[in-house]
């Protein structure tokens, strides 16, 4: 829309432009403003005077023009710029269930639920995410949390402050009861609805466990993932003593565990799916770093720049022109009398 020199202008109240012909008024000279002299031929020609006169006349024209244009409220219309960023559009789907308050401990220790412990899964994940977001300023993040129901913390945004605040907010409450992963995933998919596809899209699921998803929801998820071309990354904060998702041993028995069942379902999704299992804070960081490497494609997107109103500038011009006019009038000699 904006190309080089031709600056587009639009007017909020264009009918005011009908008054534009008024600007011709100062050019129509009136006898009252002039001193009649018997013979100009014998007066010296004064270029200074002629120019002062012209400047005064121009100030009057400019004052009227600027006022009329200001009444029409000119502005640069809303426009979009194409921007290219490296990275992706990432929806962080953050499990906020009660189990996320458990501590991540080495094998054999008993997990405790202590508030403010930096080892709580929730906090470990938040720290890793926070660092992740900080390192990727070009990505657009949206943060969703889910317990029994999903809720959006921040919409898609590139502002680091917003995202960091969202991540901080994820650590404030205690865990929510219930884990409805199906609704969470559907909400995450809906985040992409109606958005132009400008680069790779990722749902980053941060969870320590899954829940059963019924067949209808599965189908919906499958369709949504395909339509919106979303990749799924799952940071699986594995609890102590839980089996690995791709456990070779006893596939049938392990298949009864919901996490593994989900893993198997995710594998059937039409789009990319990757799981990062982590059972310690270090492992979480490592998983995030791995995602970072993977999702480093250039992202092309449009940024909307809101309408800029130029009205104050025009009023300022009018005021300056009026000041010039006042000065012009103040210095004008009105009669020959002394």
């Amino acid at each position: 829309m904006i190309a080089g020199l031709n600056l587009p202008l639009d007017f909020a109240t264009p009918w005011a432009l009908l008054l534009l012909p008024l600007a011709v008024l100062p050019l129509l000279r009136r006898r009252r403003e002039e001193l009649t002299f018997s013979s100009l031929a014998w007066l010296p020609k004064d270029r200074l005077g002629i120019w002062v006169e012209r400047i005064g006349r121009a100030a009057a024209v400019i004052a009227i023009l600027a006022t009329v244009l200001a009444l029409a409220s000119p502005g640069r219309p809303e426009w979009e710029v194409d921007r290219i960023g490296r990275g992706a559009e990432i929806v962080v789907l953050f499990d906020s269930s009660l189990s996320m308050d458990d501590e991540m401990l080495a094998r054999g220790a008993h997990p405790k639920r202590r508030r403010d412990s930096p080892l709580r899964k929730r906090n470990v994940a938040r720290q890793a995410l926070s660092a992740f977001v900080e390192r990727r300023p070009a990505d657009r993040f949206s943060l969703l949390m889910f317990g029994a129901a999903p809720f959006r913390v921040t919409p898609f945004s590139q502002s680091p402050d917003v995202i960091q605040a969202g991540i901080t907010a994820a650590g404030i409450s205690n865990g929510l009861p219930g884990t409805d992963l199906g609704r969470g995933l559907m909400a995450a998919i809906e985040q992409f609805n109606g958005r132009a596809y400008t680069g790779s899209r990722v749902i980053l699921l941060v969870s320590d466990g899954a829940a059963e998803i019924d067949e209808i929801t599965r189908q919906n998820i499958r369709n949504g993932m395909r339509q919106n071309r979303i990749a799924l990354n799952w940071i699986y904060l594995r609890s102590v003593n839980w089996p690995r998702l791709d456990s070779e041993k006893e596939p049938e028995a392990v298949g009864l565990i919901t996490d593994v069942a989900m893993h198997r379902f995710f594998k059937t999704l039409p789009t990319t799916y990757k799981v990062y299992e982590a059972e310690s804070p270090d492992a979480v960081s490592k998983a995030v770093a791995e995602i970072e490497r993977a999702q480093n494609l250039p992202l092309e997107y449009k940024e909307r720049i809101p309408r800029r109103d130029f009205t104050p500038y025009f009023y300022l011009t009018a005021i300056l022109a009026c000041l010039g006019l006042l000065a012009h009038r103040a210095t004008t000699v009105r009669s020959f009398s002394r």
């Binding site: 002299f37 013979s39 031929a41 014998w42 007066l43 005077g49 002629i50 000699v333 002394r338």
Partner: protein, 295 residues
């Protein structure tokens, strides 16, 4: 604004031929104080003028009578410029000053037994303002009334373009005075090119012309205030602007002095002496002008 008619002394500084007795030196013989010659009573049978002493001395023994020159009355004309530039003046317009002059001329002429009349011109001859010469006492007021007509000022104010050269109007107006022996007061501000003025004055070869140059103080002296003045020419309606400042005032005065010198030189070439009127008509100054002319 009618001012009392101040009359002034004037005599034609040359002899005029006229049948009408008056007060100017004439060429015709008749009643008068100026002795010319003796003539025999037979050729001039006027025993009242019998010169006994001359008759006794005469060798032929004729009766001689004195022959005297009669003083004559002449028509006095006012050629009045009524162009738009005359409708200008700081306190009184130049046209008002001109009407004072007309009143004074009428009063003076009727005192000495001359007829007074007026022709007027702008860029054309103004026949509507013409006043035929008359010995009537009120002739001055008649002329002044024609000049005081507010319609003249209105015409100038509306900006009626007088596209032509006032010299054309002047020439046309003076044509009816061509060759007559008379006194002509040519009253104008002379804000026009002098190139063809010579030509216009040539037909008045036998008349005695008094150029009356009427200027307003506002024309001669620039306004004392500094600042911008948007100006409009009264005649051509062209526009200009000047920024009044000391250096410009000096130029202004210089231009006035230059114009004055140009006009004086122009009339001196024709053997005329202009009479300057600045702001108000001074009858005593006019009397002095004629004293000097007759000296």
């Amino acid at each position: 604004m009618a001012s009392p008619a101040r009359d002034f002394y004037y005599r034609l500084p040359m002899r005029a031929g006229s049948q009408r007795p008056g007060s100017h030196p004439g060429t015709s013989h008749g009643n008068g104080q100026e002795f010319v010659t003796h003539a025999t009573l037979f050729s001039r049978p006027d025993p009242r003028r019998l010169d006994v002493r001359a008759s006794l001395r005469d060798v032929r023994g004729d009766w001689l009578v004195r022959v005297m020159r009669q003083r004559v009355g002449i028509p006095v004309w006012l050629a009045a410029d009524v162009s738009a530039s005359m409708v200008f003046g700081e306190s009184r317009t130049k046209l008002a000053v001109l009407s004072d002059l007309a009143r004074a001329i009428g009063a003076s002429a009727s005192r000495v037994g001359d007829a007074a009349g007026m022709v007027a011109f702008d860029s054309h001859e103004r026949e509507d303002l013409q006043v035929p010469p008359s010995m009537s006492r009120g002739i001055g007021h008649l002329m002044a009334a024609a000049l005081d007509d507010p319609q003249l000022a209105a015409q100038a104010d509306v900006g009626e373009r007088h596209a032509g050269n006032p010299v054309d109007g002047l020439a046309a107006a003076l044509r009816q005075l061509a060759g007559r022996q008379c006194l002509v007061f040519l009253a104008s501000d002379f804000h026009f090119p002098l190139a063809r003025l010579d030509e216009a004055l040539d037909p008045l070869s036998r008349a005695y012309i008094v150029p009356v140059i009427i200027w307003d103080p506002a024309e001669i002296e620039p306004p004392p205030l500094n600042g911008l003045a948007s100006l409009r020419d009264a005649e051509s309606a062209t526009r200009s602007a000047i920024w009044l400042r000391p250096s410009l005032r000096a130029q202004w005065r210089e231009a006035v002095a230059e114009r004055r010198a140009t006009l004086a030189a122009f009339f001196a070439n024709r053997g005329l002496r202009p009479f300057w009127v600045q702001g108000a008509f001074d009858a005593d100054a006019m009397s002095e002008y004629f004293f000097e002319a007759n000296a």
